[in-house]
Subunit: 333 residues, 2 copies
Amino acid sequence: MSVKPSGENAVLQKIERAVRMQPIGANRSLKLSIGDDAALLHLRSKNEEVLTCDWFLEGTHFLPDKHSPDSIGWKCLARAVSDIAAMGGRPKCFLLSLALPAACTGTWLDKFLGGLRRASRKLDCPLAGGDTTKRDEILINITVVGEVAAGEAVLRSGARTGDFVYVSGMLGEAEVGLLAVSATKGRIDSKSASLKKHLYPIPRLKLGQWLAKKRIASAMMDLSDGLSSDLPRLCAASGVGARIFDAQLPLPNLHGGSANGRVDALQLALHGGDDYELLFTVSREKAKKLPKSFRGVLLTRIGEITAARKIVLIDERGQEASLVAGGWDSFRI
Amino acid sequence: MSVKPSGENAVLQKIERAVRMQPIGANRSLKLSIGDDAALLHLRSKNEEVLTCDWFLEGTHFLPDKHSPDSIGWKCLARAVSDIAAMGGRPKCFLLSLALPAACTGTWLDKFLGGLRRASRKLDCPLAGGDTTKRDEILINITVVGEVAAGEAVLRSGARTGDFVYVSGMLGEAEVGLLAVSATKGRIDSKSASLKKHLYPIPRLKLGQWLAKKRIASAMMDLSDGLSSDLPRLCAASGVGARIFDAQLPLPNLHGGSANGRVDALQLALHGGDDYELLFTVSREKAKKLPKSFRGVLLTRIGEITAARKIVLIDERGQEASLVAGGWDSFRI
C-alpha cells in the first residue's frame, strides 16, 4: 500500500512542495526538514539560539473575510521573526502549526503558502517542520529559531537611568491600516503605506542586528501591542521608568484629516498595535553617534529613561500625565 | 506606572512562577527564559538540534469536561517530547503557546500548570518561553527543542528490506483508556494502566536514546496516530513495505472481555492512537542482540520490512490482507 495523498498527508505534501520551491540560500544550518518526527538543525557553538513562538488566530489576530490568505501567510511569519529582530538575532528556520477547516485545504491553503513562502525567502527563514490538523477555525502558531553571537543579544532588562528612548519607523501606521480594513466591505488591496504595514509588516532584522553587533542599544524589544503597553514591559524588566515627549513621536499620516487629526494620530502612535518597529534605549554617550536613519528606516528619539519607576507622558505645553496602557491585551476586560 | 498584574501580564506571571519553582537540574543550556522577546539557548556544536511542535486542542485532542487540567498539562508536553524520543534525542527546553477563556485563568490554569510542571521535571525539559492570548476555547501548542549527537539521529527513512520491525510496550492501550473515559460521565481517575497511558503517557526517551547511541535502530518513529497510520509513513520514507504478523502484536488487556475480545484487542492494537510507543526497525544481524525488554519496557518483533512497497497483515491462519490505515487522521472524511 502506498501512502495515498488524502487527508493530512495531502496537506503535508502541499506544504512540503511549497517549501521545496524555496532556495535555502546562505541558510545552511537545516539538516532535515519536514517529513520526519522532528527537524534537525546545526548551529555554530559560538552562537546562542534565539527561540520564540506566536499565535496568529482567526477572529483574534485576523479576519478571513477581511484579510487575504496571502497576507495572512506573510504576516504570521513576519511578526514572529520580529521577536528575533528584537533580540538582535538572525532567523534560521521556523515551524508551522496549522489548523484548518477542510474547505480551506484548496485555494485558500495555496494562497496562504504563497504569502508564507515569499516571507520565508525575504527573511531567509526556511520551514523546518510543523503540525497540521482539521479545525472549524483557522489557527496558526509559528515558532522561529534564530541565532545571535553569544553575549550579543539585546535584552529588555538593560535600560539605565539617563538612557535615551528610541523607536524605528512610524508609530500607529499599522493601526491606521487596520481601521481602513475594518471600514471596508470585504478584502482590500494594499496600496497605501499604512495598509502595507498592516498586511505585510517587515521585521527590522538588519537594524536589530546592527544595534546588537555594535552594542549601541542597552535594551530592546519590538512593538507588537503598542507603545503604551510595551514600554512599561521594557521599563519593568529594567527596573526603571521613562519620560516620553508627545512632540517627538513619529506620528502616522492620517491623510485628509479632521480638526482632531493631530490628537487622533497621537493616540494611534501611543496605543496602536502591530507596528513591529523596534523600541530601544541608548546611553547618552552612544546616542551622539546614532544616525537619523538606518537603511532608510527613521530612528527617532522619543524620550528618556528615569530612575522613578513610572511612565510619564509630556505634552507639547510641558504638562505631565501618566501613560496608561491602551494597547493590545487580549485578557483585559 | 508599574506593570499591574492584570490581564495578559497576570497570566504570564502565573506561568513564570510555576516555572521558577522548577529546578533546572542538569539542563543548563537555557540562558534566558520567559520575560523577554525570545528565549536564549546554548547547545554544544557537536550536537544537532531536534525541533518539533504539536497541537493540543480542546475538542480535537482533549475534552475539558472529561480530562482534568492536570492531565492536559502533563500530556501536552509528554506527547511533544515523544517526537524527540523518536529521533533518539534529549529534550532541552520547550515553548508553551496557550490560548484560554478568561474563566480558565484561575483554578484551571493552576492545575494545568501543576501537571505541566511535573512533566517538565520528569522529562528534564524546562519552559523557555511562549505566547498567551484569550480565546473562547482552550488551545495549546508546544514546541520542544532537543539535541542529539551529530549523525546519531534515527530517521524514518533508514529501514531496509529484511530488517525486523519492532514496537515498544503494548499497542492500543491508550485507546482502551480513551474508550473508558468516553464511557464515563464526567472526569475519571487514572487507576488502570490503560487510563494512565491515555492521561499521563510517558515518552520512551531512554529507549530512543539507547537505540540511537548504539546504532541499533535503522529507522524509528513514535506511534501517535496508530500503527496502521504510522507504519505506512515510515515505509514511505524508506521506500519499502512491511509484513506484520497479527499473532506477534502486543495486544492491550481488555479485562473481562467478550467473545470478540481478541478481535477487538487486535483492532485496537492496529488502529488505536496516542500510545507514544516507539516503532523501529533493526537489521537481522543486530536483532540477534536485542533484549526482550529495555528498562522494563517490552520490545516486541511484530514483522519485517519487504521490498514490495505495500503493508501486508498476516493473520493467525497465515492469510494475507492489506493493512488499511484506520488510525487518527483529522482530515480524513
